[in-house]
Assembly symmetry: D3
């Protein structure tokens, strides 16, 4: 029934490549099917003005898409002179989700800059960004631990994300673009490695949904996120 022939509870193939580029403290290429995102984590030894002198760190995220990551070319946001509302909404979500994974007090007066740049899009770019950025952030923080700049690990838990939706009346896991463009409801779920919910964003694109559908989608999301966390663990162990 799904355009990709996947089962309703089946993720796309996910590959996490660490150390993808050489300059960033953490640099990951995450590929979820045909959605490919470069996630980097950069450490800066200062914090924004509103945190100065408070002896705590900060984590912030930015998101972008290469103009031709999509099937028709989009305008380049740098050339247009502003980020779209969608872009800002996504980068705020990524930042919020990752901050839930990191004890900012234990980070010291540092900023972790997350950059998620989509080089090829096929649905689910924001959730792929979160799952990949967690690994990049983990690697970046490890560089601080390894050189002794930190003695306590500020990572509190794993964080991963996935989309679910109602496609042709059926709850399905991990929407690709063909499904996303046609589905009734689209929900993004961010969870911790121990199963806590960090963010649930469910939007009825067409008909409204009910509690039973909501629960079915959350079950699928939980199932998918457990698998993604396992892949993150494997990548970090690799």
């Amino acid at each position: 029934m799904r355009p990709s022939q996947r089962l309703t509870n089946q993720l796309r193939d996910i590959h996490i490549t660490r150390h993808y580029t050489k300059h960033a403290e953490g640099s990951v290429l995450i590929r979820c099917g045909d959605t490919h995102v470069i996630c980097t984590a950069s450490i800066e030894d200062k914090v924004p003005g509103f945190l100065k002198g408070k002896n705590q760190g900060w984590l912030t995220a930015e998101y972008g898409m290469l103009p031709r990551s999509t099937s028709t070319r989009m305008d380049r946001e740098a050339a247009r002179g502003k980020q779209s509302g969608r872009t800002q909404e996504i980068q705020r979500l990524i930042g919020r989700s990752l901050r839930a994974a990191v004890d900012l007090n234990a980070l010291g007066e540092r900023t972790l800059h997350i950059d998620c740049d989509v080089i090829q899009a096929d649905g689910g770019t924001r959730t792929a960004s979160i799952s990949g950025a967690f690994v990049a952030a983990h690697d970046a923080i490890n560089t601080l631990l390894q050189k002794g700049a930190l003695t306590v690990n500020p990572i509190r838990d794993f964080v991963a994300a996935i989309s679910v939706g109602i496609y042709q009346g059926e709850p399905v896991l991990d929407l690709d673009y063909a499904e996303d463009a046609a589905c009734d409801t689209d929900m993004n779920v961010v969870m911790t490695g121990t199963g806590g919910m960090i963010e649930v964003q469910g939007t009825a694109e067409g008909a409204a949904y009910n509690r039973a559908e909501l629960n079915a989608m959350l079950d699928l999301a939980e199932h998918g996120i457990q698998q993604i966390v396992a892949l993150q663990r494997a990548a970090l162990a690799g």
Copy 2:
């Protein structure tokens, strides 16, 4: 236990004043406790470029806060030259929520512009905006029906919204600013008058939340939204 002494499932007093300003086709002042928002609905007899010639309408929303609607003065977005990510996120939510209430095909080649301007803020400005904007949109569409520009009512259902959260470990309905600033989880819920879910956005600000807490919050939201829809109905009948 709540700073306002309200019960955990108790809304603030809500007042909906129609025809608040004289120029707009729909104009509502909604007051939810100390949160006051002017919601107007304006009809324009054309649609954005991407819909031209498709024989359907559009609904779009913008949101703003007066600089001193808050306890400390915020920069004026018009003077700073751009809308914040928060503003864009909110106005996208308002637009999406209201579009779920309106059959855009039945609207004809018209745009309904929703403007929500917060004149006093005490938490819950985005949900108050949605609940008030629905009434303004309803009034604006009635002007089209009354003058015969439309013969079929494009309003499909009522739409209202409320925030819920986990405050000091307890699920509570309709967070005011004092609660919002201190709560662990903040969830905005948008539902139809017949109980369908349009949007659920739950964010763990501190600790992650679990399914039981999510369900408790949704129960509270459903309870609150039923009351708000009754107030919308009463206002429109008034």
Copy 3:
């Protein structure tokens, strides 16, 4: 002869509501006929860079119109990304006029931010803003006197404003929108409570005007401003 049936020297009904919103140190709703403006005065305990260390204060003003305060919806300046020339011209006028009322040396190193937001427009929004903002500024300064932050009152005199014009060949007081759109000459006058002139801005929209007409307009303005100052005094005494 006037669309509103007013006498040539007759003001519209003016109502000044203090403490209109709860957060600002001074908050006024001024209604001049169908022109309604929210004026707030906010105190900030610092001054702009060019005044730092000079032991004096500053007063600055911003002005905006809600998109549907007018008979057809205007673009939202925050969304368009810049304030129009008209907006900037008006907010510069408001700031200049109010600074004439306040001894900035006596204010200490503080900034008084005036915000004038038009929620319904029917001509004369800039003069209503000045008259209302004076009361808001007065209230804000009183909070400083009451808590002992200031011992000498920096308010030097009252300030109020009104428009006059030549409508169908006749000098008239307090133009509403119907008159403003059709008049030959439009003049805004700002005066002190003791009758000094702070600002005179007269523009021939159609035919040029002569000295006799200028004098007739100034006489009307003086007459009107005396009444507005009386209303300001009554509001502040109330």
Copy 4:
């Protein structure tokens, strides 16, 4: 008494050089003492959208200052990415003043673009701009008459401008920078060649002014403008 030793009713030396640059249809260098402004008038064979198909023309003005036209270097507005409020206020004044001189219906569907660029500033740049721009506009319109594109001259009257003020308690004509920076009141007056008033903008910088002072300033302005119109006539005859 005046820093320049001029009499209270004495203009600075004014020189008007036509055909100053070669590309513009009208191009004038006006020098009022040490204030030097290049004024060009450019003809474009179309009108802005709001006038399309109305069979009338338009005139619009832009104003700028070279960064080092002033005693300390100002930021370049093009580099900063926006025009200041002062710039916008001035260019709106120039446009309004010149439109009073031109019958836009007689101009046909054309736009006259006025550009006033200050290359050296010593006070009175906006009034010098208006007086110079009139001559440039006159020349540009003459090119249309000469090649038969127009048969009726749309110029209705001459337009010139000057500043006056109260300097050390005394009304004086044509403020230079030293006087402008120190004066109590600064008034810009725009008049037609036949003595009608187009614009009067008087601002109390320090103490308020009274009607007698206003009248004295207007008398000076009228006296000065008559001389400037004579210089414009002489230049155009030259």
Copy 5:
């Protein structure tokens, strides 16, 4: 002598991967040592306004760097709201260079959008962009030929680019970042496959250079570009 131990006339290893992403008509990853750039070519079936109806095509280029493509993180241009002067200079160079390779008349009323996005930088990003973008453009044009939209190939010649410089007194080919940051002169050369010069940009960063040095650098560039063209041919044949 070179930090990389390369000979003075030795290129870094260059790899050209075609069909790197799936949506663009041409998509290339070019790696020149540690400089990695994604170059896409997108076909749009219209031309900019200034070419409308002229029966010819257009080619334009945009350039960007991922924020952490460099050793310290750069601000994201989309977030800052404008492209730097350097970015604009580079994208103008890329566009000009590629236009020299394409007969725009033979392209028809189409625009070829070139996007060069640096994912890892180690010097020479602009020349790598040009060399990679040529292959992407070639692929994009082939899709037009293959589906019969074009019958004559508008590609006139190959185009490739390389940097040369004076490093520690010695002319060297293909500067990496360590050399670029320390060299006296940096020259970018763009040539056709048949040895014609399209662009020479030589800048003395420290001491001025003389004609002999210029000639030595051009010899090196010619030598390098011949090799790059051979690699482009091999990639396109592959």
Copy 6:
């Protein structure tokens, strides 16, 4: 053969007027035929952030064109809200070229701001800007030497610039607009007074050029720049 009847190796008449405006430390009007540029050099007693505390100076340049310096009116960059890529490219070139002439260490913690504003354009505005700006910078630095703020002259050498090109198959010196618009190759050359090359930028607009043509163009440029340096010397001695 040339539209202007000049010999292939003949410059246009060049006039350099020092002290052109009164406020800037250095102020030059340079006229190269019908290309007229005002070049000012302004001294500011501080440096940009990235140089603070490094005990060295900085030189930076900005460039602009009056809207009607050209044969059809261009948009005003300040009104459009951004500088074009061409403008930024040119001002970067001017800054780089002038920095090659000045020992920034000997300048002390000061910034030399160069402003080049084209008041009439007929080709070669960027090279005229460089040649004129050098004289303005020289004058500005002399004011520092004369008042004893500097004891060692930071000027290392003269700097001048000229364009050359291939026009109708022939190398020619100093392209005017008619030649520039029609030439095959356009090259800008910046050299020191002692014959060192600072910048060579050669662009094939149509056909590619070869080494022999490049050499012929450089010979012409060298010949022209020697004459311009002689004119600079004469102006500075005058």
